[in-house]
């Protein structure tokens, strides 16, 4: 058997794990590992300009591919710079492995140069973390890290590697374990049959049902099953912002998404339903509004792989712990064999009501002669890209507009920081996607606030030729903050203006990319087409949009799901 150093074992283990790209930044404690990287060409490393971006790149890849992303950084500031990226992945249950250098074992606890207790710092943000205590443990720890990150409810795993563990002077037998088993970690592989039967009986008997499907359906690769079940039952489906694409947005049974900025028809249907079937969703506060007023007439079926998600904020009448694909398959089988059929008369009446709600609002917005509307930009993007692009977003109004007006028919195409709400996420996430899917159109919808939080990555894009399209909805303000200030603080715009914006055209050109400014309505579609025709160039579209626009619908704080603002003056 071959003898390898800890650093060589680490890289070999990544290769055996099927890792193609890792995203990172070198530094003292990681230098043995970087030397091992240099001496091989199977695992490729992408050098970012800030470690936060490495984490978001890995995350973007993980969301598009449904596989864990990998990050490599040094100790101290290298490691702590990934924290926001780890927290982002954690909140959205994204599988990720973050390999951190650490000062040598004998220096730990001595406040050595670039020493941080990364295990302690990351503890509340990770699914698990581990320290390497002997170089020979490295293959098994790496296997465990990927196993834990990608099974059950996925999440980030941090591996802390003291420098002496990767020393080139010590060599050990390399053996990569095919399997690991942990006596204390056994995620459910199927749901409780009796509970599933009960849920199906309730679904067949329901008069005003709604399926509320979240990111768990995307993560659990269960879109096909969800769509099949919904079609068999004829039930309306609403998605969370994390679940967009898990049910086709252009399907007539889709009500769009729900919650704070969800569609009128979704929120109304939720509130008036008699049965909510939550699948891979977690009753987040941005979905439920006030939980004591949530869906007063509904019984609740809740399917989730993570028992802690069930009855955390809203009590479930029928809890089902299990992987969504397996549970949905069982549900489909039961619907097929059941003698009971859905109550068609009741469902017809329910759909009639839903269609009235659709007709009443249906994401309408006021057009303007003077300004380009941000909603129009997203609608144009949808047309120009045939609805087939990978769309990442940053956080704020542009995120909500992108989610509302780009119709996702497939899972893994909409990539946003829904849980943590991380500004600066979208651009590096898009880079991670583009690197792995070079033939596909990848665009990042952002704003002039968010994009500046990781704009240094324009440099990484030059180095690796990552021709993503950056769509900057420029309203010259922190739009969502400003909207809240308009609505709740009598328009006192405390620190929500963006004074001294850079000349984005000059900036992107300085990095060797293309900038296109759009400030006239008639230029919008032609210039978007021009940008997307440049397949091999990063194009930054700086689009000046209505600076006064708000996102609607918007739920009224502490109200029920049906309490919404529909425009600046219209409240229901």
């Amino acid at each position: 058997m071959e003898l390898l150093s800890g650093a060589d074992m680490l890289i070999r283990a990544l290769e055996d794990e099927g890792v193609e790209y890792i995203y990172g930044y070198p530094g003292g404690a990681a230098l043995h590992i970087y030397d091992a990287l240099f001496r091989q060409d199977r695992v490729k490393h992408i050098l970012v300009r800030h470690e936060q971006a490495a984490a978001h790149m890995a995350d973007g890849y993980a969301r598009a591919a449904g596989k864990p992303g990998t990050v490599l950084v040094t100790s101290g500031p290298g490691a702590t710079n990934t924290i926001t990226g780890i927290a982002t992945a954690s909140m959205d249950s994204i599988p990720m492995v973050v390999l951190c250098g650490q000062v040598a074992s004998h220096l730990i606890g001595e406040d050595a140069f670039q020493e941080t207790d990364m295990i302690g710092v990351s503890r509340p943000l990770v699914k698990h973390n581990m320290t390497v205590r002997h170089p020979s443990e490295i293959p098994e720890i790496i296997r465990k890290a990927y196993f834990i990150a990608s099974t059950g409810r996925p999440g980030p795993v941090v591996v802390d590697i003291p420098k002496d563990m990767t020393s080139p002077n010590e060599r050990y037998e390399y053996h990569y374990p095919k399997k690991v088993s942990l006596r204390s970690y056994n995620p459910a592989i199927r749901g409780h049959a009796g509970q599933i039967r009960k849920a199906v009986e309730m679904m067949l008997a329901a008069k005003r049902p709604i399926i509320y499907a979240g990111g768990g359906v995307v993560l659990g690769k269960a879109s096909k099953e969800l769509t099949d079940l919904a079609h068999r039952l004829g039930h309306p489906v609403t998605n969370t912002i994390m679940g967009l694409g898990s049910f086709p947005a252009t399907d007539k049974q889709s009500l769009g998404w729900l919650g704070m900025h969800g569609s009128y028809e979704s929120n109304m249907a939720m509130h008036h339903s008699d049965l909510v079937v939550a699948i891979g969703a977690r009753f987040d506060d941005r979905v439920t509004n006030a939980t004591d007023k949530f869906c007063p007439g509904a019984r609740i079926v809740h399917v989730d792989i993570d028992p802690t998600s069930i009855s955390k904020t809203v009590e479930a009448d029928v809890p089902i712990v299990g992987p969504v694909d397996a549970v949905l398959k069982e549900m489909i089988a039961l619907v097929k064999e059941s003698k009971e059929k859905p109550d068609q008369e009741a469902l017809d009446a329910w759909w009639k009501q839903i269609d009235e709600w659709r007709a009443f609002h249906g994401l309408r917005y006021e057009k303007s002669d003077k300004y380009i509307k941000p909603q129009e930009v997203i609608e144009a993007l949808y047309e120009v890209t045939n609805g087939e692009a990978y769309v990442t977003s940053d956080v704020g109004q542009h995120q909500m507009f992108a989610a509302q007006y780009y119709k996702f028919d497939r899972p893994n195409r909409w990539i946003n920081s829904g849980g943590l709400g991380t500004m600066g996420f979208g651009f590096p996430a898009a880079m991670g996607v583009k690197l792995n899917y070079p033939e596909d159109e990848v665009l990042c919808v952002t704003g002039e606030g968010s994009i500046q939080m990781n704009i240094q990555e324009l440099s990484t894009c030059s180095q690796y030729n990552l021709p993503v399209k950056i769509v900057n909805l420029n309203n010259q303000a922190l739009g969502m903050v400003k909207q809240w200030q308009d609505m709740n603080y009598e328009s006192r715009h405390s620190h929500s203006y963006m004074d001294s914006l850079p000349d984005f055209m000059a900036l992107v050109e300085a990095y060797g990319h293309v900038g296109i400014r759009i400030d006239r309505k008639e230029d919008l579609v032609p210039k978007l087409k021009e940008a997307f025709a440049m397949k091999d160039r990063l194009v930054f579209l700086d689009i000046y949009v209505d600076p006064y626009e708000h996102v609607y619908p918007m739920q009224v704080a502490r109200g029920s799901m049906k309490d919404m603002w529909l425009s600046k003056t219209e409240r229901v």
């Binding site: 503890r123 509340p124 973390n129 834990i148 942990l182 006596r183 204390s184 028992p307 802690t308 009855s311």
Partner: protein, 163 residues
């Protein structure tokens, strides 16, 4: 309601801090916490007493179970169980107090484990209420120092928490 949750977990560095971190991160109460290795050196046994509504307790047990290093746990207060806590208490003991304290210690089936001219050190085991009752009986004025171990517990009968 007060609950005693008994946790079997991997005897690994950092495992305890995950449990403690979980309680502070999610705003749960810890009243007492004890932890020590078991006869199987790969496992430690942790007992935590906490208070909360049924909903909070359900979340606590689920969140604890979710920690990768937690192997198994049981809420002892769901069934009949034995709980014990050890207290070492230093009491001012001069003149007529000495006989009175000795009598109280006997009533509570404690032991005086160290003696000076002015101080008794008493060892007492029992459930937490009994230890509280002893302190009340001798009066807080005479108490110089108290050390309590926190609660350990085990189910009654044939029920066993093992892997």
């Amino acid at each position: 309601m007060r609950r005693i949750i008994s946790v079997m977990m991997e005897n690994e560095p950092g495992a305890l801090s995950r449990v403690v971190g979980l309680f502070s991160q999610r705003n749960y109460n810890i009243e007492t916490l004890t932890v020590a290795p078991t006869e199987d050196e790969t496992l430690s046994r942790l007992t935590v007493t906490t208070t909360g509504s049924d909903k909070v307790i359900e979340q606590i047990t689920k969140q604890l179970n979710k920690l990768i290093e937690v192997v198994k746990l049981v809420d002892l207060t769901e069934g009949s169980h034995i709980e014990r806590e050890l207290m070492l208490i230093k009491l001012k003991a001069v003149g007529s107090q000495r006989a009175e304290i000795k009598r109280t210690v006997d009533i509570f089936r404690g032991q005086i484990v160290d003696v000076t001219n002015t101080v008794y050190t008493v060892q007492l085991t029992g459930d937490s209420d009994k230890l509280d009752a002893f302190i009340n009986s001798v009066g807080t004025a005479g108490v110089l120092e108290v050390v309590r171990s926190g609660v350990s517990g085990i189910a009654r009968g044939e029920k066993v928490l093992s892997i």
